[in-house]
Amino acid sequence: MHWSLIIYSGVITFLTRFTMIFLLKKDILNDKAKKILSFVPSAIFPAIIFPPIFLDSTGALDLDSNPKILAAILAIIIGYFSKSVLATIFSGLISYWILIFLFNF
């Protein structure tokens, strides 16, 4: 990795935070725009979550005996009921370890 890539990423990140603070005197986004922006995490994070779970290292769809799918489903169930970030991450990770180390998935 080159430092320039890190610096450009830093500048982009900063600008998304700074632009509106710099330009606006008051909040001009209407309710519609805000509602749409509130969907941004839901629209982006699954694109990061899904491929490493469903695809193997060659990029082929891997649905048979895939411990990541089972562990992710368990994490979703725990997350749904507990609403806890920590419980979600650790239930997924621990069930993944149980599947690969104890059940040799």
Binding site: Y8, F39, F45, P46, Y80, L86, I89
Partner: protein, 232 residues
Amino acid sequence: MNNNLKILVKGIIDVSPLMIPVVPFGIIYGVIGMELGIGAYMTLGLSVIIFGGASQIVLLQLFSGGVSSLVILSSVAAVNSRHILYGAVLSEYISNLKLSWKIILSYVLVDQAFAVSNNYFKKHKNVKNKHYHLLGAGFTCWTIWQISTILGIVLGSVVPEELGLSFTISLTFLALLINDFRKFKNIIVMLVSGIVATIGFNIIPFKAYIIIAALSALIIAILLTLSDFKKN
């Protein structure tokens, strides 16, 4: 205690509970940085220069997949686009500040700091120097993030690869969505994004699957929102 300091401490106290999940996230990030072999300086460098967990992990993940810089940068911009909302919402409270203040506060405007300071600003519209709250909350996040990154860097050199810690990337992002699991429209948007990215991973050129998936899902989000507003 001087008034500004009081507000600053209030910011630190308000944001503290939200730091609990940030610590493992930062450690995971540090470990992954070391496992991908970019070294301790760059792993910490990302945390200082970018200071955004999601952006940092996306950058690492795409870089290790051999994706071109242009696509990496657009993906980082996509991940960050939610901050535009934060800036717009906070602008009315901090528009009178000096430019230097705006720069500093923008640098530390992360999800957790936004959440607590926006809440404070709304309730204390007439308080003088209320921006110290965001300063306190933001730099608490910054400090915790750097420390946990360093912990991860140290652990990353001893954690065996067999533990499959790269799976925690997926789990961490999953955990960031838990508040939206109960919203039907969000679930539709999530499924569109995930399915387009999975199918597109191999067929979308330049590995631009994150951007294409996010745009497709946002279009669905726009359609769902507009149909909602029409009804009312």
